[in-house]
């Protein structure tokens, strides 16, 4: 795990002092809400329907037990005992009081955390693969590359007033768990013929109103040129991205308007000018950062075989664990999707329990996934049963990873000012209905957004649900066939929308039809859909 040095800590502490000052000026009415708004947004503080919401950055989704305990403390001390893990690997608190924010940020800073750039038209929290450093399929840990970006993008003098927000994801594996094709910039670590690590650079992906997949503009970028190349991309975007219409201001629109080849040409041209300025740190800086991410010392003799005679335990192991690099170890996903609960919510007590488990069993690391679950990355298989028993007693042993009740949902109309419809209750109803048959259905990713901004990734759902406003009533559109993984595609709308009960029935009809259509029990819904197309499902739902 990365540890702050004196420089990192001084910058975060200065930020807390700055915000304390700004809040004081606001509370004394020395600055208007209008002038204060951009300042609070730079610190992740939104005004929602009922209260302030704070978004805390979890860089590349990694925290240790000490930090998780602080997140629990914040939930207790400043919120109502809960936190909400988001699809961008951050955590949000929904019931914040402005006057308490400076103390809260100081608490965060005491464990090397912050809310820098979790909002606003700047480079946002860098996301990454939740299985980093543990997955058997990766070529290198992507997090040092993400940390280098985090530092470079913090309070960047040129790129803090971009046309629109800017999201970057980094992965070290060809199995894409970070949705790199759906980010403004997606980076994949690749090796050249000499075996040296470089970066494949994708630009122009994104969800929201106009979903698009990113384009590769560089197959191999040497690490020595990493930051200067990012500067070039951001500069082309900052200068030429549209600013006349916020719905057309993301980089995807610029890349699409220019065409990826012309965009790439402009980046190369700019890069030729900025490269000689010496913006790239020496290799020793990446090496310094990478040293922090050295994996925990693993037991080479950890037993591989374990007792799976308890069927509930065996089922959980089958569904919620992934192969680890090291034999005798495994990667555990803790589902925050117990059917009927709010997707991504965790109570302060649950956070404390997970912190304890991480310390005891997982090399003191916890990851947040973009599907709003948590991961313990380095667990001895021999410890799984003890760990599982603790999870069971904490209500955290739901065995549903990537299954029908593992639903992504945005906050929707229950909290969000931009929402057209509620999304949490739809997710809850669907999860309860589908959970009994989800083992039979296999991998099925359902994603719900409460408006076209798409925070719930509905375009990347095998089944996506989008809340819209129809003459003042909540209405839900059904989309099929999306994927946010390495086989990324965008889901398409099936037909006219439904009311709250209608959408649940429609999803059930789609699933029933899938069961009759699948080539064999192992064919996923997504693959069946890709094979047979939308027609049979249209007929099932509307016929």
């Amino acid at each position: 795990m990365y540890r702050y040095d004196e420089y990192d800590q001084a910058v975060v502490d200065a930020r807390v002092a700055e915000f304390r000052d700004q809040v004081e000026r606001r509370l004394k009415n020395e600055i208007s809400e209008e002038a204060f708004k951009p300042l609070r947004l730079m610190n992740g503080l939104y005004l929602q329907l009922h209260a302030y919401m704070l978004r805390v950055a979890i860089p590349y989704g990694t925290v240790d037990s000490r930090q998780m305990r602080m997140l629990a403390h914040i939930a207790r001390r400043y919120d109502r005992g809960y936190g909400h893990f988001t699809t961008r690997q951050n955590i949000q608190y929904n019931w914040m009081k402005l006057e308490e924010m400076p103390d809260l940020l100081a608490d965060l800073a005491s464990v090397e955390m912050h809310a820098f750039q979790t909002s606003g038209n700047c480079i946002r929290n860098i996301s990454s693969d939740q299985f980093a450093a543990a997955a058997a399929d990766e070529i290198a840990d992507p997090r040092p590359y993400a940390e280098l970006l985090r530092q470079w993008s913090t309070l960047h003098p040129e790129f803090s007033f971009l046309p629109r927000k800017f999201k970057i994801a980094v992965t070290g594996s060809t199995i894409d768990r970070a949705a790199i094709k759906l980010h403004d910039i997606g980076l994949e670590l690749v090796q050249n013929e000499a075996g040296e690590i470089g970066l494949k650079v994708l630009v122009g992906g994104g969800m929201g109103r106009t979903p698009m997949l990113g384009h590769v503009i560089r197959e191999y970028l040497p690490v020595a040129d990493y930051l200067s190349y990012m500067e070039a991309i951001l500069r082309v975007y900052n200068r030429h991205g549209r600013r006349d219409n916020i719905y057309k201001a993301r980089i995807k629109i610029l890349v699409n308007d220019l065409g990826p080849a012309e965009f790439a040409r402009q980046v190369e041209e700019e890069w030729a000018l900025v490269k000689p300025l010496g913006l790239d740190p020496p290799p020793s800086e990446l090496a310094r950062i990478a040293a922090h991410f050295a994996p925990p010392v693993l037991d080479a003799n950890a037993p591989v075989e374990i007792d799976l005679s308890n069927p509930d335990f065996a089922n959980w192991v089958a569904v919620n664990t992934h192969p680890h690099k090291a034999p005798g170890y495994t990667i555990v996903t803790i589902s925050l999707k117990a059917p009927g609960e709010i997707p991504g919510d965790a109570s302060a007590d649950q956070m404390d329990i997970i912190a304890d488990l991480a310390q005891r069993y997982a090399g003191d690391e916890i990851r947040v996934t973009h599907a709003q679950n948590l991961v313990l990355p380095h667990v001895r298989r021999a410890d799984l049963f003890d760990l599982w028993q603790v999870l069971v007693s904490a209500g955290l042993a739901t065995a549903n990873l990537d299954r029908a009740s593992d639903i992504i949902s945005c906050p929707g109309l229950d909290y969000c000012t931009l929402a057209n419809a509620r999304s949490i209750p739809i997710a809850q109803k669907l999860a309860v209905k589908l959970a009994p048959q989800e083992a039979d259905l296999g991998e099925l990713k359902i994603k719900v957004s409460g408006c076209i901004n798409g925070c719930g990734h509905h375009h990347a759902g095998h089944i996506g649900i989008l809340g819209v406003d129809r003459k003042g009533e909540e209405n839900y559109q059904l989309l099929l066939g999306g994927s946010g993984a390495e086989d990324a595609t965008l889901a398409k709308i099936l037909g006219p929308g439904f009311d709250e009960n209608g959408i649940v029935t429609a999803v059930e009809k789609v699933i029933d039809r899938y069961k009759t259509l699948r080539a064999d029990p192992a064919e996923r819904f997504l693959d069946t859909y890709r094979r047979v197309g939308a027609e049979p499902f249209k007929e099932a739902v509307y016929g």
């Binding site: 040095d5 530092q151 309070l155 040129e158 790129f159 803090s160 007033f161 200068r239 000018l273 800086e285």
Partner: protein
């Protein structure tokens, strides 16, 4: 408009700034709209003494790139940010290459001084002489 907040010691160059489209070679002061291409001025940097860059909206951010491009091209005259700007943006502005600000609402010099001292370290190189932390770490 309020008073200009300047971080330069030399006397103010007060010639009126002409719009880029009307600029004639040899002119000493020019006005760039937010969307104007600063690179068009590169051949004229020797003659220019002041370049004003417009920030018509708070959200406007192109001027930061314009200023940086001008500094990267070696311009040492005044670069003035004009428009909807607040004291809280001073660090971004100065690091991007601005050394004067003409904001719509006045900047209190005492608050400005405090603001500019706020962050003891920076993470990336820019147009000023401040060393990024990776250089400080390298030295240590």
């Amino acid at each position: 408009m309020a008073e200009v907040y300047r971080l330069r010691a030399d006397p103010e160059h007060t010639a009126p700034a002409v719009p880029l489209a009307e600029y004639q070679p040899g002119g000493t002061a020019v006005w760039l709209e937010a969307g104007d291409d600063a690179r068009l001025l590169v051949p004229h940097l020797g003659a220019l003494r002041r370049i004003d860059i417009a920030f018509p909206k708070f959200r406007e951010g192109r001027g930061y790139s314009s200023a940086r491009i001008l500094r990267e091209a070696g311009f040492t005259g005044e670069i003035r940010a004009v428009g909807v700007l607040y004291v809280d943006q001073l660090m971004f502005l100065t690091r991007a290459g601005f050394d004067a600000v003409l904001p719509e609402t006045p900047i209190d010099p005492a608050v400005a001084e405090q603001t500019l001292k706020r962050f003891p370290f920076v993470y990336m190189k820019a147009t000023d002489a401040v060393q990024p932390v990776w250089e400080l770490r390298e030295r240590a």
